[in-house]
């Protein structure tokens, strides 16, 4: 069997004396969609942010496509941000609060990484960026500034920006939590379409029904540990652990 695209091994993270992650282990295979759910403060976002080293893990391994992330090969020395850049470029990240760059147009937001990080010539970068914008149904907004878009549109641009990296793995950090309820659907639809294309995704979400429908596997985290993991439908409709049951019963309402 092929080794998984992403492996998280014994991941720990502490802030001072506060231990947020207490040894997380799981993996994501190529083409697999994995959703991480759990109550606020369970460490699920921190876990996701450790994958591309926006947070530096206190201990443990992140392995992407056979390569250890954030640590110099053959030593234990952590990489600097400059050294990390090529590894981060292989992972697309979508943030809860979008974080589009307000001084750049929508098209530039999507194409700047192609031009400056991937070294794609300007014309070609614009074409690819345009394709990505079409994919999220925002081709008509290419020349507007992000500040003029709705939250749902901004998040779709952010998804296009992540896609433009041609990433091996897409990371979603609660992509719909900051959106007005009527805008959630358009973003989930886009994520659904990406899932249907067979992209590899790791998704932290509060949308339990969405996780059930889209994910192959769901991981339930609480208190900095993985409490339970299993096939999405099974875990959500028939959780085994008491803590999972309690959490899901609160959400159902």
């Amino acid at each position: 069997m092929e080794s998984p695209l992403l492996q998280i091994k014994d991941l720990h993270k502490s802030y001072g004396s506060l231990e947020v992650l207490k040894g997380i282990d799981f993996s994501v295979s190529k083409g697999e969609k994995v959703a991480v759910i759990g109550p606020s403060g369970s460490g699920k976002s921190t876990c996701l942010r450790c994958v591309n080293f926006l947070e530096k893990p206190s201990r443990g391994h992140i392995i992407l496509d056979g390569e250890r992330v954030g640590v110099k090969p053959g030593s234990d020395r952590l990489m600097s941000d400059a050294e990390l850049a090529p590894q981060r470029a292989q992972m697309g990240m979508v943030f809860q609060l979008f974080y589009l760059w307000p001084h750049l147009t929508v098209l530039e937001n999507v194409s700047i990484g192609l031009r400056k990080v991937q070294g794609v010539p300007s014309n070609e970068a614009s074409e690819i960026a345009m394709d990505m914008l079409e994919k999220v149904h925002l081709g008509n907004k290419a020349n507007t500034f992000p500040g003029l878009l709705s939250g749902g549109q901004q998040q779709r641009v952010a998804i296009a920006r992540a896609l433009a990296q041609r990433p091996k793995l897409l990371l979603f950090d609660e992509p719909t939590s900051a959106l007005d309820p009527e805008l959630v659907g358009e973003v989930l639809n886009v994520i659904q379409e990406l899932a249907d294309e067979g992209r590899t995704m790791l998704l932290v979400t509060h949308e339990i029904n969405f996780a059930r429908d889209i994910a192959d596997r769901v991981i339930f985290m609480d208190g900095g540990v993985v409490v339970e993991e299993g096939p999405a439908r099974e875990l959500i409709t028939n959780p085994q652990a008491e803590r999972t049951r309690v959490f899901l019963s609160k959400i159902e309402k």
Partner: protein, 216 residues
């Protein structure tokens, strides 16, 4: 009366080019130095470097400009480094401006949400690219209004260069006073020239702000 004013204005005109040169020269030094110090102060991990910049900023912000000009013009002169009065004024005011603008740019950087940086490094930008392409353009936009205020202030402050005999507007005014004793009229004319210079400068700054404020 009009005759007299005309005579005075013509005499003062000789100072305008020096006033403008000192303003522009000092402004260029101040912006480049301030941006450099502001970026380094905001992003360096080296404590000693941060401390050094803080000392620089506090020194130049808390010593009167006149004292600094005297030190540069007379002090350096006495140890053999003799600068022209215009050069000394540009250098002195530029160094002071660098300290002022260091803080202005630093405030611009610290006003940005940390997510702006995170999104940039997440797509694989290096720290240098992140600052140059994402953070600095936004921080500079935020810094534009205080930068404009500084430029106006600087134009007016060039008048102290007259104290080291830089032949700018006030220098001509004072010289003229000693030969004609038309004190009030001469200084009012000088004030009018400053006003005529600073109003267009203010307008120019406003239009820059308007133009680059787009998208925020």
């Amino acid at each position: 009366m009009l005759d007299k004013i005309q005579h005075i204005l013509i005499a003062l005109l000789g100072g305008i080019s020096v006033t403008i040169s000192v303003t522009l020269g000092a402004l260029i030094i101040a912006v480049l130095l301030g941006l450099l110090l502001g970026v380094v102060r905001s992003f360096t991990k080296w404590k000693l470097l941060r401390f050094t910049i803080d000392v620089y900023v506090e020194l130049f912000r808390n010593i009167p400009a006149l004292a600094i000009l005297f030190i540069i013009y007379f002090g350096l002169g006495s140890v053999g480094l003799r600068l022209g009065s215009v050069t000394a004024a540009i250098l002195g005011l530029g160094l002071i401006g660098g300290a002022v603008l260091c803080d202005v740019f630093r405030a611009g950087f610290s006003a940005l949400h940390s997510g702006q940086r995170e999104a940039a490094i997440a797509i694989g930008m290096t720290p240098y690219q992140t600052i140059r392409l994402i953070l600095a353009p936004q921080a500079i936009r935020i810094a534009l209004p205080p930068l404009g205020n500084y430029a106006i202030q600087l134009l007016k402050d060039t008048s102290i260069a007259s104290a080291i005999a830089a032949p700018e507007i006030m220098f001509f005014a004072r010289t003229l006073v000693t030969s004609t004793f038309e004190t009030t009229l001469i200084y009012i004319c000088a004030a009018g020239i400053y006003l005529l210079l600073s109003l267009p400068l203010f307008r120019a700054i406003q239009s820059i702000e308007k133009r680059f404020g787009v998208g925020r």
